[in-house]
């Protein structure tokens, strides 16, 4: 936490608003407001093509959107990824360069790979492997673990459970619950059965607008047509 003194050592609040985006004159995001704070897991749900990934990338700072405002504890940050120790992001695509082993990547991300895989002992034998030498599920899980254990105030995950086998999904969900004690997590994934019990707050991205769900998340998702009734 000492790497981000400008934001203090207490809980952090990440806010994003004013995000408007259109592709080929089709509005994808319209005046979105999003809030994540330390100690929270925030779920971002929505149909395919609703703009979830774009929204995460905008918050992360990789996608420049005019008028977008991303703030931490009220301080404007643009792009957020340039602020040391503030935020990391797992894209849907593979994160790691193909010629770097997991252990080498962990060193650059300043993560202890042994500690990161403490709950997944079978992965330890694969730390010397490059991403292309691993199964899709193992590579995905290791990438999630590296970012989860990195010393950042926030982690943004785009489909973190994708391709991971059920027994590991449960353990990973437990890891996320542990990690939220020291950081804020924002994740999007279509595996709502795994995501919903994890989340303290759930947003639904629908027709370009971000709706904060209240009460029973599953009922609300059925009402909005995200889940079949």
């Amino acid at each position: 936490m000492s790497k981000r003194p400008e934001f203090g050592t207490g809980p952090h609040v990440l806010e994003a608003d004013g995000i408007r985006l259109a592709f080929d004159s089709r509005p994808v995001l319209a005046d979105v407001y999003l809030r994540v704070q330390s100690g929270q897991i925030v779920g971002l749900l929505g149909r395919n093509g609703s703009g979830k990934s774009v929204l995460l990338q905008t918050v992360f700072g990789a996608r420049a959107v005019p008028d977008a405002s991303v703030r931490v504890n009220g301080c404007y940050v643009a792009p957020a990824f340039r602020v040391p120790g503030l935020v990391n992001y797992l894209p849907q695509a593979s994160l790691l360069p193909p010629y770097l082993s997991i252990r080498q990547a962990a060193r650059l991300l300043r993560v202890d790979p042994e500690k990161a895989t403490a709950s997944f002992p079978d992965l330890r034998q694969q730390l010397h492997c490059r991403p292309g030498e691993l199964s899709g599920g193992s590579a995905r899980l290791l990438q999630v673990l590296l970012l989860l254990h990195a010393d950042t105030a926030f982690s943004l995950f785009d489909e973190p459970f994708s391709g991971i086998m059920p027994v590991h999904v449960e353990t990973l969900a437990d890891e996320m619950r542990q990690t939220k004690l020291r950081k804020g997590l924002l994740l999007t994934d279509h595996r709502y059965a795994e995501v919903l019990p994890l989340c303290d707050v759930v947003y639904l991205l629908r027709q370009g607008r971000l709706l904060k769900l209240e009460g029973d998340f599953e009922t609300a998702l059925r009402d909005y047509g995200y889940l079949a009734s």
Binding site: F60, G61, A62, P79, F81, R82, V83, P84, N88, Y89, P91, A93, S94, L95, L96, P97, Y99, L100, A105, L108, L109, L147, A150
Partner: protein, 111 residues
């Protein structure tokens, strides 16, 4: 100092991904243009700056191809806090130095 070293390592890492294209271009320019020029003696009119210019002009082509073929290659570097501009700036400096070094070495060999 640690941040500087990390950034240097990151640029070297990124350079590794584009080095095959950039080094191939360097070798082609040096072998197909500079070497015959030196052997045949028509390199005395200050060909070296022109070669550097040619090499500089190939940079945007490599950049464009890398953007088109590997649009997702930047995510890891973003997670290290390094921007796309910094990566390509570092690559330009590194590759420029390497090209200049090879060019001067070849020039010295055939002088």
């Amino acid at each position: 100092m640690t941040i500087l070293l990390t950034h240097l390592r990151v640029v070297l890492l990124f350079y590794r991904s584009v080095a095959p294209f950039m080094l191939l271009i360097s070798v082609l320019i040096l072998w197909c243009v500079l070497r015959p020029a030196l052997l045949e003696g028509w390199a005395r009119g200050g060909i070296l700056p022109q070669l550097v210019l040619i090499k500089l002009m190939t940079g945007p082509v490599v950049w464009y191809l890398a953007e088109r073929m590997r649009p997702n290659q930047y995510w890891f570097y973003y997670n290290l806090g390094v921007s796309r501009r910094f990566l390509w700036g570092g690559v330009a400096v590194l590759d420029g130095l390497l090209f200049s070094g090879l060019m001067l070495a070849l020039n010295a060999c055939y002088a």
